[in-house]
């Protein structure tokens, strides 16, 4: 059975990436690995956005060339909206990295470890 045509392969890649990341966040005990998994999840979604905005074949960047008819341009250009989402999400991701890294550094200073299994002050 053919599970995927070439058009579906990127989506399957994104699904595998996202599942691995969610698994890692929930079940890995190292805080730094959890953090990396969250950012990989964000990157998987960024990839999903880019794939959805892309056109196979002779696509052109979303900048209108001089003299081209707008309707013809719209039929062959890639979707700029997806790129806007990705750029915004990348900037937001920076704030996430800064926040989580600062918290992990403080955790290390207090406990001397970043393994969640060894941090047991609170019971949840």
């Amino acid at each position: 059975m053919v599970i995927a045509t070439t058009g579906q392969l990127p989506y399957i890649l994104v699904a595998i990436m996202a599942s691995i990341c969610i698994y890692a966040v929930l079940f890995k005990s190292n805080l730094f690995k959890k953090m990396l998994a969250i950012f990989l999840l964000t990157d998987a979604v960024n990839l999903l956005f880019i794939i959805q905005g892309y056109r196979l074949g002779n696509a052109i960047p979303p900048i209108i060339p001089p003299g081209m008819d707008p309707s013809e341009f719209a039929s062959i250009a890639v979707d700029p909206l997806a790129h806007y989402f990705v750029v915004t999400a990348v900037v937001i991701g920076l704030a996430e990295v800064a926040t989580l890294t600062a918290l992990i550094i403080y955790t290390y200073r207090h406990y001397g470890t970043i393994e969640t299994k060894k941090i047991k002050e609170l019971r949840g």
Partner: protein, 519 residues
């Protein structure tokens, strides 16, 4: 109609953003008194602006859409100021003002308070944005704004070991929730080609947008997206089984922040989820969206029972109040999940009442912890003789929390039970778990009251100062006064549910710049 009235909610947002920047600047050059004065003035101004917006929506103009930057949807971001979002934004402003007055004396011994006030303002901006926005991607950005500032405020006392642990726990799971929400926005973009909530529901009904056309994919995969969104907001709103971060974060944060987290942050999450499910996925009529409502009912029942059961075994006063939040959120999600007009209005009233009750309980718990120097419930024995005024306020708050008539939460709990009973199908059986959880919660709260009123007079470290008592008094008086006017409460709830459940009216309102005609 005057532009000030139209722009009032947007100005409130801009003021809080400006305040976040100015707090750091003032703190660097002028000292903490200037920062406190500035944040006091700005939060008072946001109350005024939110009240203007409420008056405008209720009495003058009716619901309207503000085009951010002048770009009409679906190109730009619409801010929908209707009878669902305006009262909630006033509740946000009032609770932020009360906790602002409270924290001046509460944080007297802490250093670097400029960051505290700055982050508080950012969180307030995020909440306004979440309540008003009509765009899925904007919700993602505002979730980050609200979530990241809350994550940094939980371990504000970073020299305390346990508060840093609570902060990292909350941080990992909240950012995971936001990332899952981001995944679902990507899937919505692939399926609908649009991020405007109104366009999503319109396209489910067969609408063809002049910008993005019709549906990009078959809506049979919609339940997957709905489930992802419910999951992400269930982490953010601490609904069982994603509740584990809440008792830690809410009990280890400074009490002024616990009040905001427990009173507003989780409720705002639920309100946004309701907006997406009802107005975006047409949960009342479309089978794909209805999956979300069934999930909400199941999770809500589990949440109310688990929260109430854990309340019985707590020995820490703030953890007890935190588990009470989980219980009440379960009741709110049941009301939303039932999906009838009565259920949604009951859930809406419970959101607002619970916000005030829980914020005041956490603020008084902070006073008790300062006075006794301990968080254990046993240490509160005899405190009513030492701090009679504060204990009286706490008693009123607790009575409201367990639904003692005629305080405000009695009416919303009554309405929730009635809504479940009046809905068809298997829903009337839900009364049983709801009553069990309400009874368990009452037992735990009354046990705490009995400890406060028992024993001999005990020595206390300090008495609460006037601003602290005043800020708590504002909250308790709101609870009492709204409880005495049930007709007004019911009217607010009914109109909010009407605006939320009227899917085609919402799409009309947002898309009217395109001469949108409902399909």
């Amino acid at each position: 109609m005057s532009p000030l009235l139209i722009q009032a909610p947007i100005l409130a947002m801009l003021l809080t953003l400006l305040g976040s920047f100015l707090c750091v600047l003032f703190g660097m050059f002028m000292g903490r008194r200037a920062v406190e004065l500035l944040s006091g003035v700005l939060t008072a101004a946001t109350i005024l602006l939110s009240s203007l917006a409420l008056i405008n929506v209720y009495l003058l103009e009716g619901p309207y859409v503000y085009y951010m930057g002048g770009w009409p949807p679906p190109v730009g971001i619409p801010y929908v100021i209707d009878r669902f979002s305006a009262p909630l934004s006033l509740a946000v402003s009032v609770i932020f003002f009360a906790t602002m007055v409270y924290s001046v004396r509460y944080l007297e011994k802490d250093r670097d308070v400029k960051w505290y006030y700055s982050l508080r303002f950012l969180m307030q901006t995020g909440m306004y944005g979440l309540l008003f926005t009509g765009d899925m991607f904007h919700i993602f950005i505002m979730l980050e704004l609200m979530g990241l500032s809350a994550i940094l405020l939980v371990p504000f006392r970073k020299e305390v070991k346990a508060s840093v642990e609570a902060g990292i726990k909350y941080g990992i799971y909240d950012i995971l929730a936001i990332s899952i929400y981001y995944l679902s926005t990507a899937m919505i973009f692939g399926m609908f080609g649009s991020m405007t909530i109104a366009e999503i529901s319109a396209k489910l009904g067969g609408y063809v947008s002049p910008f993005s056309g019709g549906m990009f994919a078959d809506p049979s995969a919609l339940p997957v997206i709905v489930a992802l969104i419910v999951w992400s907001f269930a982490i953010g709103a601490a609904i069982v089984p994603q509740h584990f971060w809440l008792p830690d974060a809410h009990s280890m944060a400074p009490s002024s922040i616990s009040a905001i987290l427990s009173g507003l942050l989780v409720q705002v999450n639920i309100a946004v989820l309701a907006r997406i499910l009802f107005d975006g996925f047409a949960a009342g009529s479309h089978p794909g969206g209805a999956v979300g409502l069934q999930l909400l009912v199941i999770l809500g029942v589990a949440s109310s029972l688990v929260g109430a059961a854990f309340m019985l075994v707590q020995s820490d006063i703030k953890r007890l109040i935190a588990y009470s939040t989980i219980t009440n959120l379960g009741l709110i999600t049941i009301g939303l999940g039932v999906g009838t007009s009565l259920g949604v209005s009951a859930a809406y009233l419970h959101i607002i009442n619970h916000a005030f009750v829980k914020a005041s309980l956490f603020m008084i718990a902070g006073v008790f912890i300062h006075a006794t120097g301990s968080r254990e419930i046993g240490a509160l024995r005899g405190i009513s003789k030492a701090l009679p005024g504060t204990s009286l306020l706490y008693t009123l708050g607790t009575l409201a929390a367990i639904g003692f008539p005629p305080l405000s939460m009695f009416w919303s709990k009554l309405l929730l039970l009635l809504s479940v009973l009046s809905a068809g199908g298997v829903y009337p059986y839900l009364v049983l778990p709801m009553v069990v959880s309400i009874v368990f919660e009452s037992i735990a709260q009354i046990r705490l009251l009995a400890i406060i009123y028992s024993g001999e007079k005990r020595a206390v470290n300090c008495h609460p100062s006037l601003p602290v008592i005043l800020s708590i008094g504002i909250m308790i008086s709101i609870i009492v006064v709204t409880g005495l006017m049930p007709n007004m409460l019911f009217e607010f709830g009914r109109l909010a549910a009407e605006d939320l459940l009227n899917v085609s009216g919402y799409a009309d309102l947002v898309l009217k710049s395109l001469n949108y005609a409902a399909p």
